[in-house]
Amino acid sequence: MLADCPLLTILIFLPLAGSLLLLPLWGREAAARSVAFVVAAGELALTGWLYGSWRGLSRVPAKLPGYLLLEDAPWIPSFGIRYTLGLDGISLLMVMLTSFTFCVALAVSWNAIKERAVLFLTLLLVMESGIMGVFLSLDLALFYLFWEIMLIPMFFLIGIWGHGRKIYSTIKFFLFTMFGSLLMLLAIIALHLLHAKQSGEATFALNELLHTQLPFATQLWLFAAFFLAFAIKFPLFPLHTWLPDAHTDAPTAGSVVLAGLLLKTGSYGLIRFGYPLFPLAAHALTPLVYTLALLGIFYASLVAFAQEDMKRLIAYSSIGHMGYVAIGIAAWSPVALSGSILQMANHGVTTGALFCLIGMLDERAHTREIAAFGGLWGKIPLWSFFFLIFSLTSMGVPGLNSFIGEFLILAGTIRQSPLVVVLSFVGIILPLIYMVRLVQEVVFQGERQPLALSDLSLREIAILGALLLLDLWVGVHPAPLLDMIHLPVQLLTGGAA
């Protein structure tokens, strides 16, 4: 029964179909909001159902080892492009994160977006389709297509509903990502041609291209192009400069999706495509990845400490947190990789929550300057409570989700490179410094400006409560998620299944 129903196609195209449903509702914003949310919630329910049944699916023997669901159809035979989708534990985790994040993004912008709200909702749903496609594609050309498509809605989202220097930020964001992507496109085509020359079969299918025998020099060139594209999305130092601008100037929903999902497409791409396709080159460049990640951790933390804008501070903290993900990937051991994958989801939840919180505060006070606030604990205790908890998460306090991810990454890396782990431990202290400063100045301390603030509404409590539940769940009981990604991680790292 399951095999007959193209679940993955539905997963990708349900939001797109939902965005078409919005067209007749042009101008009727309340109705459009409800429809969009129902579509996103339906998508969430679908991924929830997939999560509930993954063990059952994994017992069915799959055509590709490790995959729970596969779909495959010819699409553009003249180019050798197929419509190949696959879901394994890693994609399932990312797909769950995606559908959840979009529900949060829709809910958090319920009242914040007043102008052209229907266009906003349409773009969000289109973007959800694009991101779903990125996490499910197993054909490199198809992957690239979704990889580009998801940029367009974000470009509009920042450019139309952003703040500050929104046009500068959105163009910078787009050009940075395009730069990496275009070179990756050449690399994808080159890999396709090399494979065709070797095997006589023109294909972009990942599982075929994995068998291509490439000399080291070729691998290095191709991997460099892939790595550039993914490192820009990640973002790794020194390719990160688009991120603070884009995150800061985006509307709250945009920041949540950027931090929660777009950055993850970079790390996901590295895990799914970059490392498996070019193992020799990836191994050779491991020291470089370590170095860039560590530099990013230290640099971003220092810069975060100097920020006056709360949103910018969180944006910089993202760079640091993603640095750990990069270290875990570079170590390429089962434990570290599991940690990285888990940390991708964790970072999406935590940073998403922080951006939500700052967005809510911004809606009330119309400023995000740290210096404008103080003593919020007494004025808006609920907001302060959530802010404190998620800040603690961001610092990596045990019992909350980030701790698990960071712990696994470092535990898995220590055998590969003790030096990196030692330095990373130092790096873990740094978020403590800037987050403590942030919390201390904003939540505690005396009031600096008399701002009339109202505490969280029921809708906002529901959003943050859901995020907190996830945070605690992963923090206390990560085993089910680790089980889910266990098999694909073992297969990727070459361990026994």
């Binding site: 050309a141 470009f155 046009i167 730069f179 050449l186 085509i189 396709h192 041609l193």
Partner: protein, 465 residues
């Protein structure tokens, strides 16, 4: 001439005869239903070439799948332009029967150029549609810009015609034949006289395709011509010129210099076109420079001709034409007494005229090569061919200049949707049916080819084999 020949030639005859018919009709009843009549004639030619797959070979002309494909493509572009021009000419006071008649004449010339089997007819076809454009570019007689553009086009055009004719004469002198098939089939090593002629032919064709170094007329002419004419000039005229070039390329045989010359044309066109477009503040000039860059990608595909580049070049050109029609179409429908061509004047227009904004935005994404617009598939085809042919340098330069291009194409989208409107909030003019169709069709084509290009690719494989 047999009846089969007649059947095969009918689309061309309809266009050429229709041209005379429209001129006569205009003389008898000035201001009658001339545009409607012209549209009907083009549709008749279109349907005929679609429904009646007759093929024929005559001295000088051969109706083949290749020529029928190009005929269909060029006539569709011509039809779209005519739909745009009807309203545009009314608003800007361009009257008279010569406009629709000249468009029919241009289409007939283009059709002949695509079906030619010897250099003489090829030259005649090319120069007849170029001749038609001399008139069309300057058709608004009281416009100083139009006059300037017309004169520039005339001077450059006659020079290039002379170069082309000289080249053909030299080739004839060297080989003693003007038949393309005979020229292509000789295995003689190319002698200097032949090569001199070949290079001149290539230069003449570079003028028609706006390839650097023969591109200098492009920006001024595109800007000065009425927008529907620019639309035709930047799409159909390029298409017919590409078809003619494809017919001419086999005469060079395996001469390696051809590769090097095309290589240089591609390199400099991609660089110069995309860099110069960066600094334009006039939308038509920007599109003109960008079309120089776009033709660079077509040339890049031709460099890779041994590795399937010809298919990629035609595929790319069809997609480029859809984008050009949509973009210049958008300018056409928004132009009243003055052309709506300054980029800043488009601020906030994406909301005021949703269809016009969407057509222009999709065209920009397509030209920039961003999926799901078709331009991505075009770039994909071109770069696949280039890499297959081992043209790594050119591919990397091409992809980096495409990145530069993304910036100036996106700037238009930014102006359309992200900048506050400069205009008072009066309701926008309602578009008539013809304008809606003329904008919708290329936009839908761009999206369809971007999502499912397989049918077109398959067709191209068939006609180019």
């Amino acid at each position: 001439m047999t009846s089969v020949d007649l059947m095969a030639l009918m689309p061309l005859l309809i266009l050429a005869g229709g041209c005379v018919l429209v001129l006569l009709a205009g003389a008898i009843r000035p201001g009658g239903y001339l545009y409607e009549l012209t549209c009907a004639l083009i549709i008749a030619a279109l349907l005929w070439s679609l429904l009646i797959p007759a093929e024929a070979a005559m001295p000088g002309l051969a109706v083949t799948p290749f020529s029928r494909f190009f005929g269909f493509f060029l006539n569709s572009a011509g039809l779209t332009v005519l739909l745009l021009a009807a309203g545009y000419n009314r608003r800007r006071g361009i009257v008279g029967e010569e406009y629709p008649a000249t468009i029919l004449f241009a289409l007939a010339g283009m059709g002949a150029a695509c079906a030619a089997t010897d250099m003489l007819l090829l030259f005649l076809g090319l120069e007849s549609f170029t001749f038609a454009f001399y008139i069309l570019v300057a058709v608004k007689r009281d416009s100083s810009k139009g006059g300037e553009a017309g004169l520039k086009y005339l001077l450059n055009g006659t020079l290039s015609a002379a170069i082309l004719a000289m080249g053909m004469a030299l080739v004839y002198a060297a080989r003693g034949t003007i038949r393309l098939a005979e020229l292509a089939s000789t295995n003689e090593a190319p002698e200097p006289l032949f090569l001199a002629g070949g290079c001149l032919i290539l230069l003449g064709m570079a003028f028609k395709l706006s390839l650097v170094p023969a591109h200098l007329w492009t920006a001024d002419v595109y800007q000065g011509a009425p927008s529907p004419v620019t639309a035709l000039l930047s799409t159909a005229s390029k298409g017919a010129s590409l078809a003619a070039l494809l017919l001419l390329l086999p005469i060079f045989g395996a001469w390696h210099g051809l590769h090097d010359l095309l290589w240089l044309l591609a390199l400099f066109s991609m660089l110069a076109g995309n860099l110069a477009a960066l600094v334009q503040i006039n939308l038509k000039r920007m599109l003109a420079w960008s079309s120089v860059g776009q033709m660079g990608y077509v040339a890049l595909a031709l460099v890779a001709a041994p590795a399937g580049g010809v298919k990629a070049a035609v595929f790319y050109l069809v997609i480029y034409a859809a984008a050009g029609l949509a973009a210049f179409g958008a300018i056409s429908v928004l132009s009243n007494e003055e052309e709506c061509e300054v980029i800043e004047a488009w601020r906030g227009l994406g909301y005021r005229n949703p269809l016009v904004g969407a057509a222009l935005a999709v065209a920009m994404f397509s030209l920039a090569g961003i999926p799901p617009a078709a331009g991505f598939m075009g770039k994909f085809a071109v770069f696949s061919a280039a890499l297959r042919a081992g043209e790594y340098t050119l591919a990397i330069v091409g992809i980096l200049s495409a990145l530069v291009a993304v910036y100036f194409y996106l700037r238009i989208v930014v102006v359309l949707y992200m900048k506050p409107s400069a205009l008072p909030d009066e309701p926008a003019r309602r578009l008539d049916l013809a304008e809606n169709v003329a904008l919708l069709v290329p936009t839908v084509v761009m999206l369809l080819l971007g999502i499912y290009p397989q049918p077109l690719l398959k067709l191209l494989e068939k006609i180019l084999s």
